[in-house]
């Protein structure tokens, strides 16, 4: 399958402060984004792709002179792919608070002249969606043909239909949930404690000390990674396989292949991800709960999205964002007589399945997008 090829990120500066749900505001910020395909004459073919925890605006294609820089959803987005860039104008935006270019904790706080660090305001899914809406406006797009996302990105896609309901026609929400369960918040809290208790964290102002709380980031990534995989896929990939032929009778050496894999993932992550961003993004996940303002009635929350059309997708082995949670979304939509299709894909890969290329999953995505324009 062809790729969109070489792409270059662009950035857009916003002088007008962005009011945030917390009551604070983000002054003087920049959003980094990429686009693929061509916006048509009446600007009716735009699709926004929302990213999850550790991804960015770089959805598809490659960056020049950077090996292994393929975008995170390149298998879905491109010419002839399910989200076909020959028909759609696809936009990826890096959310504020992230560490991939848009204004985030490592940037200078205009109020102090120092990096924000822990002082970066707490941002929510709704705040991100508002920031994206401003960028979409500046690109000359009044209404998106669709907004699509998986996991935390799926929450943003849902939030679009609730907050900017006149500005989107279709919502594609993959492997997501109407809010996080207690167990899910618990995993996030373990990850945050790992970071915050790292002696190199310095209360979030580690930049000034010239250190990075890598130990905390590693552990945070390890716990996250476990929850993104299914028991079966871990068993199939690693089982009880040892690195050496025999047990080493050590307590601290890497003996099992799964240990080696998790440490490798943790090391890699700690090299590129920002600790404050991890705290911010997991908090945004915890806070998302559109039913809360409606007495925990999700059906009431989706009332405003009545004339939107939805595709909801879940994966049977995803225990972090289980099919039961997606069905809650579907039920709220059905209760409101909203046009919705729901696919429950029997894939073995756990939560990570949303990033992989499964013919049943991509088949349904393609069929849905094919009928949008």
């Amino acid at each position: 399958m062809r790729s969109v090829g070489l792409v270059a990120p662009q950035s857009m500066h916003f002088a007008e402060p962005l009011p945030l749900r917390s009551g604070a505001s983000l002054a003087d910020y920049t959003l980094v984004y990429e686009t693929y395909g061509t916006l048509n004459a009446d600007a009716s073919n735009a699709v926004l792709v929302c990213h999850a925890l550790n991804a960015s605006h770089h959805v598809a294609g490659e960056h020049a002179d950077q090996p292994n820089s393929t975008g995170w959803w390149d298998n879905l987005v491109g010419p002839g792919k399910p989200l076909d860039t020959e028909r759609f104008f696809v936009i990826g935006v890096n959310n504020p608070g992230s560490c991939f270019g848009s204004t985030g904790p490592m940037h200078l706080n205009p109020a102090t002249g120092q990096p924000y660090g822990a002082d970066f305001p707490v941002v929510t899914v709704e705040d991100w969606v508002d920031a994206q809406a401003r960028l979409i406006s500046r690109l000359g797009i009044q209404q998106l043909a669709a907004v699509v996302g998986g996991s935390l990105g799926g929450m943003q896609a849902l939030a679009w239909t609730l907050r900017h309901t006149d500005r989107v026609r279709h919502c594609v929400a993959v492997a997501t949930a109407p809010n996080l369960s207690a167990q899910n918040i618990a995993f996030n809290e373990v990850a945050r404690r790992a970071i915050v208790t790292d002696p190199d964290f310095h209360g979030g102002h580690f930049y000034a000390h010239g250190v990075i709380p890598k130990r905390g980031l590693r552990v945070a990534r390890m716990i996250g990674h476990i929850t993104y995989l299914s028991d079966d896929s871990m068993e199939a990939k690693f089982g009880r396989e040892l690195r050496e032929a025999e047990l080493g009778y050590s307590t601290q050496d890497i003996e099992f292949q799964i240990e080696s894999y998790l440490r490798y993932q943790g090391d890699k992550f700690s090299e590129y991800f920002d600790a404050n961003t991890y705290l911010l993004i997991t908090r945004a996940l915890d806070y998302f709960d559109p039913a809360r303002a409606h007495g925990d009635d999700l059906t009431a929350a989706f009332k405003v999205a009545r004339d939107k059309k939805f595709l909801v997708v879940s994966f049977t082995t995803d225990w972090r964002f289980s099919p039961a949670r997606s069905r809650e979304i579907v039920k709220a939509l059905v209760d409101n007589k909203v046009e919705v299709s729901y696919a429950e894909i029997d894939a073995p890969h756990g939560h990570d399945a949303f990033l992989l290329e499964d013919p049943r999953y991509h088949g349904v995505m393609r069929a849905y997008f094919d009928r949008i324009l």
């Binding site: 059905v334 209760d335 299709s341 696919a343 429950e344 029997d346 849905y368 009928r371």
Partner: protein, 194 residues
């Protein structure tokens, strides 16, 4: 083309502009027909991946669910019509499904192979299980785990407090109203909760 005729006969039972839930909707052919010719809206429910895909390609709203798990996704009386065509015979919990159908819809329409069709009776008389167009499987590989007759359904409907508004047989696309239990390979019932 009796299948197409069957579809048209069933479609005529669905009031214009109804909100429809089609349980076991297959490739979404009937729902698409109802949307296009009778101004209906609603959803299909399917379990098979290939059918879910076919519905999505056709532009029919489809919800992938296992009917054996019930219809918790749908509120009481939230549909004008709930269709259950050639589906009932595949379900383990047939009676519960029928009750769920009656709970969710104002009107229920079911169809299933009529085991008392004379052709089947002849096969049994000869000492063999029938293999016909309506029951095309051998006894050892059939997905039809519930075999019942036109008359059996009348009894089940009564037991569950369902009032049959209309019922007939279908044979090669023709509506059979005289001795349907003997003359028709497919039974069709339209009912509501009393």
């Amino acid at each position: 083309m009796s299948e197409r005729k069957d579809l048209e006969v069933i479609a005529q039972l669905v009031p214009q502009g109804s909100r429809v839930l089609d349980l076991g909707c297959g490739t979404g052919e009937l729902l698409a027909y109802l949307q296009n010719t009778r101004g209906c809206t609603g959803y299909g429910v399917e379990l098979a991946d290939e059918n879910v895909l076919a519905c999505a390609q056709r532009g029919v709203n489809v919800i992938q669910l296992n009917l054996e798990e019930g219809l918790q996704l749908f509120e009481d009386r939230s549909f004008d019509v709930v269709l259950q065509l050639e589906t009932l015979q595949h379900l383990r919990n047939t009676e519960n499904m029928l009750r769920e159908t009656a709970r969710v819809g104002r009107i229920g329409i079911v169809s299933f192979p009529n085991f008392a069709h004379w052709v089947n009776r002849m096969a049994i008389l000869r000492g063999r299980m029938p293999v016909t167009r309506a029951l095309p499987y051998e006894w050892y590989d059939t997905p039809n785990i519930r075999v019942g007759t036109y008359k059996d359904f009348e009894v089940l409907a009564r037991k569950n407090g369902l009032e049959v508004i209309d019922s007939f047989g279908l044979q090669s696309g023709e509506v059979i109203r005289r001795w349907p239990n003997l003359r028709a390979s497919v039974a069709v019932f339209k009912f509501e909760r009393t």
